[in-house]
Symmetry: C2
Subunit: 161 residues, 2 copies
Amino acid sequence: MNTPSQAPLGFLLHDAARLLRKRFEQQARHLGLTRSQWQVLAYLSSNEGIHQGGLAELLDIEPITLVRLLDKLEAIGLIERRPHPTDRRVRLLHLTDKARPLLGSARKLGDATRAEALQGVSAADRETLVRVLGLIKCNLVEACERPAAFHDSQRDSAENG
Amino acid sequence: MNTPSQAPLGFLLHDAARLLRKRFEQQARHLGLTRSQWQVLAYLSSNEGIHQGGLAELLDIEPITLVRLLDKLEAIGLIERRPHPTDRRVRLLHLTDKARPLLGSARKLGDATRAEALQGVSAADRETLVRVLGLIKCNLVEACERPAAFHDSQRDSAENG
DNA sequence: CGCATATAGTAAGCAAGCTTATTATATGCT
DNA sequence: AGCATATAATAAGCTTGCTTACTATATGCG
């Protein structure tokens, strides 16, 4: 087992993301926004009028996860769900006027938090980081859609008769 | 706002970590372990007998978060809390015999999940990724200990009043 | 037209991570 | 000895992310 400073990639990635969220949320307390709420608003601002399933897909999260986030954003008056003109299953999502000034503040906060995180990291390393994380994300989105390739002794027994 | 494939670093890091955990947990269902439980066991296996506060510090998580994880690990028989010989506040943590075979399986699963995630990523890029994530983590651990530098209009008013 | 299948959204429940707060115990100073 | 301060562990409550399951509605085929 490596020492903590040489933790395996999985632990390191998780820790970095967790701490980045913790720091962002410390800084964002006064806005009343969490990290995930901010990400939803950010994606919605570029996709006004999208339906819930579509936004969940863009965010690569399960629809039920988005429902919870939207419930809260709706409760604090930052988004509204509107009915679809012809399909009664669908709700279309819009930012409210209250949300728009928050977007600028949250973006600045995100920039400041990113700057804190990236101190001492060269521009070349940042570029590599973003490129590789993008590749990792794509790989995992695909992997999550494949069945798990684990050994299930119960299933193995059944298959072997 | 960038397109999702060009998401800012914060969103990308969060998504990559979330999907890595999702994939690991898909693969690890049969072990009955979650990603965070596995990380606790991994760190504990290199620090047998450490107390809770010490382990939380190594993991860079809040003590209450570790308590929850330990409660579950204890309930499924993978760790035990022992009293300290002389300090009645402290509990010392040990892996049980039941845990040890699981560590090997979980490590293999972690390796396989990491390989899925890193397909198409060169060795040089992996090295850069680990080094930069380590730096980011260190930066954020320090940043989280500093007070948030946000504009609190209430506080500002009080200070200017 | 009727029905099987698919899609959109949501309920329940669990895990993990945090903030805030509390209790029990130890330490160190006067 | 007494008490203020610090430390270890934990309770309550919230958010987020998932799995499993459900309801309402739409679609397409025979």
